[in-house]
């Protein structure tokens, strides 16, 4: 288990750098009750994320969970301030821009995880940064497959 955790961290760090983000976190669906929790984070400023349970529709991660597609929130949103105050991760990590991507083990499969990236100083996610994040999701997918196998042992 320690191996896959380190692998997760390594990939999160890389995605964080490639997308000029300050924060990156991975949530996994850990049980049949479909509750998502943050498994690990890079660039976090505290441990609040560890206590969070992501609920459908609540915050940016909850929105991604409900819609089943990627979402972002930055100052281009007309109600940015209010939406930001509704997102627990952005509040906990003092983020000014964030994006969340669903992770599926294969296309068409149900969602199994979420990638969260966020900026503290930057106020916007550009198209190429979003694309870079999407292009690197496959790394997390292979980590997750490995992790699942480890868990089975």
């Amino acid at each position: 288990m320690a191996n896959s955790r380190m692998q997760f961290m390594e990939d999160l760090e890389e995605i964080r750098n490639l997308t000029s983000s300050d924060f990156a976190a991975l949530a996994l669906c850990l049980d049949k009750a479909k509750s998502y929790r943050w498994k690990c984070a890079a660039g976090n400023s505290n441990d609040r994320y560890q206590h969070m349970v992501i609920r459908t529709g609540q915050g940016l991660a909850g929105t991604a969970l409900r819609l089943g597609r990627w979402v972002k929130l930055d100052d281009s949103h007309p109600q940015f301030g209010r939406e930001r105050r509704d997102c627990p991760v952005m509040l906990a990590e003092q983020l000014q821009a964030a994006a969340v991507f669903p992770i599926r083990l294969d296309t068409g499969c149900p969602m199994r995880g979420l990638l969260f990236i966020g900026k503290r100083k930057g106020t916007r996610y550009e198209e190429d940064e979003i694309r870079t994040a999407q292009e690197n999701l496959h790394k997390l997918v292979s980590d997750m497959k490995e992790y699942q196998e480890e868990m089975r042992i």
């Binding site: 479909k34 505290n46 609040r48 994320y49 206590h51 969070m52 609540q58 105050r85 627990p88 509040l91």
Partner: protein, 370 residues
Amino acid sequence: MNKDQEHHYPEVIGENVNQLLAQLDAYISKPELLQDLKQSLKQLSDVKFALDESSIVAVTDAKGKIQYVNDKFCEISKYPRKELLGNDHRIINSGHHDKAFMSGLWSRISSGKVWRGEIKNKAKDGSFYWVDTTIVPFIDADGSPYQYLAIRNEVTELKRVEEELQMMMSQVLQIQEEERRKFSRELHDGIGQSLFSLLIQMDRLIGEEPESEIALLRQHVTSIIEEVRSLAWQIRPSVLDDLGVIPAIRTYIDNYTSHFGIGVKLESSLRKRLGALEETIIYRVIQEALTNIAKYADVSEAAVAVSDKESYIEVRIEDKGKGFETTSRSKGVGLFSMEERAKSIGGKLDISSEIGRGTIVILTIPSYKR
């Protein structure tokens, strides 16, 4: 200015001005001095005229005995002048203000300082009126007051509107709560129950045919039920009515921690049930204060304490986070509604905050025996 009664009652302020003006020519020969004196006396008389036209004016001696009242005073108090003169202000006391208020007023003016405030008075016919009051002590050579000048303006209408607004606010909050109660119950008992019976029907079908796709649908329905329940809970937890404010707060805090990742220490010495209104207000104030902490304080921990102090209940919500400038006028809706809620049941809300040190919100409400 006292019209036909002028000769009966002394003017007290600028008493002999007219007389003096008439005599000046005979006694003063220096033209410049005469001119200046005349002008000053005329000005004094004009100022008094303007004051009497604009305000309710009274003069008392050092002991508080009324020496002078103007027409406006008589008009608003509905007392004839002769009943007021020689009396003190107790004659128009409404009983609205407590002893501390009155002794505070007296200790201030008798030490030679100006007092300002709003006073509720009672007219002769028993009706009440509010006056915005300034009392100016006049000091003798020893530094002690020998006379007090009170200038008042009526603000009864303003006070009435203020009270009405306060009542409206508390009604709005109650209506909101009532609507929430309805919605929450409807969600939980209506839609929630319908979904649950759907689930039971699905279980029956699954029992007949275990491999059917209905099993997948069942999972969807289960998560919808979960969402409906949590929505009903968020709108207004039924636990609040069934088990009371402490169990409701305990569950609220569990959800709060798993949502925001902020740990909350809860202490309570409240062992009895309070009135429905009091419990709702405590719940909402804690909820609002904790939400503010999550949004603005930037902390990982907070503390809530509910203490039963016999005659009153004290609720304290504390964090050691960013803090804010309490003097800044821009109050959010949250703080405003907390204050209004507290006031609506005769309680009060104190907020102390220091930048970089954190915030403490204290709600105190009177505790009634049930």
